[in-house]
């Protein structure tokens, strides 16, 4: 895609992004980007601004200064519908109070512009649910599910959105705020392997993660945030460094590398 300056850029980027809440800076002059086919991971202590930055990439910040662009075009020039056709987002909140079935919730990810027939919808919902390990829950009320099961249903909804958008051809982004916070080890692996698969299909992925070992294993690019600023950025070797992490988390961190695998420990 070519932007108005004539540069060919296929990326989702923020430049000089600042967000203030009263006098407190939530984000302070952030520059970051998500590339198609790559997994970008935001790490950092609680309150560092990771979720706010994710909101910025998702186009949901009401009040900010700086520039957020998709393929070089300002995100403000996209309607909600156009944005939904380019990216799927999973937040940590769970707001449902009425008894929608898991399948109803996943179906919400299939947007009208995909022009999917009922048959196609059922098929894609079933195959995605199967891969997320929630096929047996499809017809149950979402309110009856455990936190981890709900999380997988919402993740599956995002995959459904990506599925119908991929039919339209434009580059896709998938943004997940702590997608595995309620998962057991198997669920965590299942979700992140699916994320990896999407990224290898060309989807640009943004993850907010707390588990540094998981981040190290699945991430391609890392942004380490603290107090609304980027402390370190780059590949694992540039960011996951004992001294940097120890300082940012204010906790002694030990890193071992064995068989080219990074192990990050706090004790």
């Amino acid at each position: 895609m070519v932007n108005h300056e004539g540069n060919t850029t296929v990326t989702l980027a923020v430049q000089n992004l600042s967000v203030r809440f009263g006098t407190r800076a939530i984000l302070d002059s952030i520059a970051a980007e998500i590339q198609p086919g790559s997994i970008t991971v935001l790490i950092g202590p609680n309150g560092a601004g990771k979720s706010t930055l994710l909101s910025g990439f998702a186009g949901h910040l009401a009040d900010y200064s700086g520039l957020i662009t998709i393929d070089g075009n300002s995100i403000g020039s996209f309607t909600a519908k156009q944005l939904a056709a380019r990216r799927a987002v999973m937040l940590q909140s769970d707001n449902l109070v009425f008894e929608f079935s898991a399948s109803d919730v996943i179906r919400m990810g299939i947007l009208p512009h995909a022009n999917a027939t009922d048959e196609e919808q059922i098929e894609v919902i079933e195959s995605l649910a199967d891969r997320c390990g929630i096929h047996h829950l499809l017809h149950q009320s979402i309110l009856s599910l455990s936190g981890g099961e709900k999380q997988r249903v919402h993740f599956c909804r995002c995959l459904a959105q990506i599925w119908c958008n991929t039919r339209l051809g434009a580059s896709q982004y998938l943004m997940l705020d702590e997608p595995t916070s309620s998962q057991d080890i198997a669920g965590e692996l299942r979700i992140l392997n699916l994320v990896k698969e999407k990224s290898s299909e060309g989807v640009g992925v943004l993850l907010v993660l707390h588990d540094l070992n998981i981040a190290a294993h699945f991430g391609d690019t890392f942004y380490l945030l603290k107090n609304g600023r980027i402390t370190a950025r780059g590949e694992a070797g540039d960011v996951l460094i004992e001294s940097t992490l120890s300082e940012v988390y204010e906790t002694p961190v030990k890193i071992e590398t064995r068989d080219q695998r990074i192990r990050i420990n706090t004790f």
Binding site: A85, N95, F100
Partner: protein, 344 residues
């Protein structure tokens, strides 16, 4: 095998909804026929249809019975539809246009027009239109204020909306009380009618503009069903799924205010229909807003026509205000609902 099974389940639940809809529609027709036939004067509906009824019967049918039944159906449909939508908008199973103060706001608007209209010598022909407009305006102000409060204190506080509703209801009754104090005897009789709700004054002239408003607004709400479904996930989530949240919220607030305001303008405050009916509709037709709003409208119309029938036949030749009938049915249901939705 598993996939086939799931498809069968899906097909079954769809046909289940289909049969429920047909059943609800049949009950509605039955209630309408009953409502048209029974009353202080029994009207054999077949004679009216075949034209063999005498002129008095025909006049009663076309000028008194028919407008009353159709008005009751429209008000029931629009209150129940608005209830379903307000519950969805506030993500709150206890929201009801009466409980949260929307009907009170509408009544205040209507009462203001009754009293002030007489002072300002508004011609009665114009009053047909000023009253619904004032009622819708009152409903709109209340829904807007409620929405601001709900946003300010977080969506999840189910009780907050009800508490704000109590405050708004108290404020509206202050306003209505002031107007009562300032009104003359004739106006007072009219005002009491607002407080209890009745279809006793239904006339085509006054009813038709409101019926049209209610039907159009309810249908327009059905058109927002998919966005309302997505709003259930949360506002940010709905935005991420392509919903223009701010604009949809404004539309839904305006349309549901029209539903409630127009209903209150012609029939006064009729409580609990907007609370009870959507829950019954969810139980039979599911929680997705398209079948929910349509089903609530149909069930609400059925319930209201039946409640009005009861109100005008139970103690012949006198009449009970229909609002008392619906409240008598709805209040126990509300109590049961509280035990169900409040966490222990």
């Amino acid at each position: 095998m598993q996939a086939t099974l799931a498809r069968l389940t899906q097909a079954f639940s769809n046909s289940n909804i289909k049969w429920s809809s047909i059943f609800v529609a049949a009950v509605f027709l039955f209630a309408v026929i009953l409502g048209l036939s029974l009353g202080a004067v029994q009207l054999p509906i077949w004679n009216i249809v075949t034209g063999s009824a005498d002129s008095l019967e025909t006049t009663i049918f076309t000028q008194i019975r028919a407008p009353r039944v159709f008005l009751a159906a429209a008000v029931g449909a629009s209150l129940a539809g608005a209830g379903a939508v307000l519950q969805g908008l506030f993500r709150n199973p206890l929201a009801d246009p009466g409980l949260i103060g929307v009907s009170g706001g509408a009544a205040l608007g209507a009462v203001a027009v009754i009293v002030l209209g007489a002072w300002l010598n508004v011609p009665p022909e114009l009053a047909i239109y000023t009253m619904p407009v004032a009622a819708v305006f009152g409903a709109l102000v209340v829904t807007g204020v409620l929405y601001l409060f709900a946003n300010r204190f977080g969506q999840f506080r189910i009780v907050t909306v009800l508490l704000v509703g109590i405050a708004i209801n108290a404020l509206s009754s202050v306003g209505i009380g002031l107007f009562q104090y300032a009104s003359d005897d004739a106006q007072l009789r009219t005002l009491i009618f607002w407080m209890m709700g009745s279809f006793g004054r239904a006339q085509w002239m006054t009813a038709l503009p409101c019926i049209a408003m209610m039907i159009l607004a309810t249908l327009a709400l059905v058109g927002r069903a998919e966005a309302l479904d997505k709003l259930q996930l949360g506002e940010a989530e709905a935005f991420h799924l392509g919903v223009d949240v701010i604009s949809i919220k404004r539309q839904v607030v305006l349309l549901s205010a029209i539903c409630v305001g127009a209903g209150v303008a012609v029939a006064g405050i009729i409580g609990f229909v907007g609370l009870v009916v959507p829950h019954i509709a969810r139980f039979t037709l599911g929680v997705a807003h398209r079948p929910l709003i349509l089903g609530s409208a149909l069930l609400g119309a059925t319930l209201m026509v039946s409640a009005d029938l009861l109100a005008r036949t139970a103690v012949l030749p006198a009449e009970i205000p229909v609002g008392l009938v619906t409240s008598a049915l709805g209040a126990p249901f509300f109590l049961w609902l509280i035990t169900k939705v409040t966490p222990r």
